[in-house]
Symmetry: C2
Subunit: 121 residues, 2 copies
Amino acid sequence: MKYKPINFQEKLSKFQDQWSPKVIAEMNDYQFKLVKVQGDFVWHKHDETDEVFIVIGGNLIIEFRDGEVKLNEGEMFVIPKNVEHKPYAEAECKILLVEPKGVVNTGQEITDQTAENDVWI
Amino acid sequence: MKYKPINFQEKLSKFQDQWSPKVIAEMNDYQFKLVKVQGDFVWHKHDETDEVFIVIGGNLIIEFRDGEVKLNEGEMFVIPKNVEHKPYAEAECKILLVEPKGVVNTGQEITDQTAENDVWI
């Protein structure tokens, strides 16, 4: 049987829209999602789960109510559950997200940045 | 408050031993581990969980009983639970593993490649 790797750049080339995570893999009940972001996102939190950001390309700032973290390519950060955060990227940034299946990108906030879940590429 | 990103290259520079995963982050009850590998690993499987390999540097072959997958930098693969596999790398390869806390690297096989768990760097 022939097995196929999941290539981040190939998957990233398949979509252009921002703030709309695309699922590329599932492990148990967790999903790996690629997303392109630019500009400001909405302040939100996830009550039930931590969330992992891994920067694949570009630079990302994640603001917290009491500080911020700057992520470059090849860096990751774990947002603890129930902690308010707001991602921001000056130029387009490509991110690999890891979180349980079913997590809504805007958490408890439903805005025009709220994306459909379970969109596979 | 100042938050610090987790930088893969900085973490990789902190150890030289192979086949011995080092924990760099936890998300819920999952761990992110960096590991350096070269040569052949033991055939094994994980009865209770899928396992994610993300190649950070180099090339990796994961053999299955009925085929294999070749992973380059920037590629990932999900090993389904209960599927026998054997990683192999001709030259040293750097990998980010994602799996539940407590998973033993050699699965049900206890060999001299069995590594201690929960070693943080």
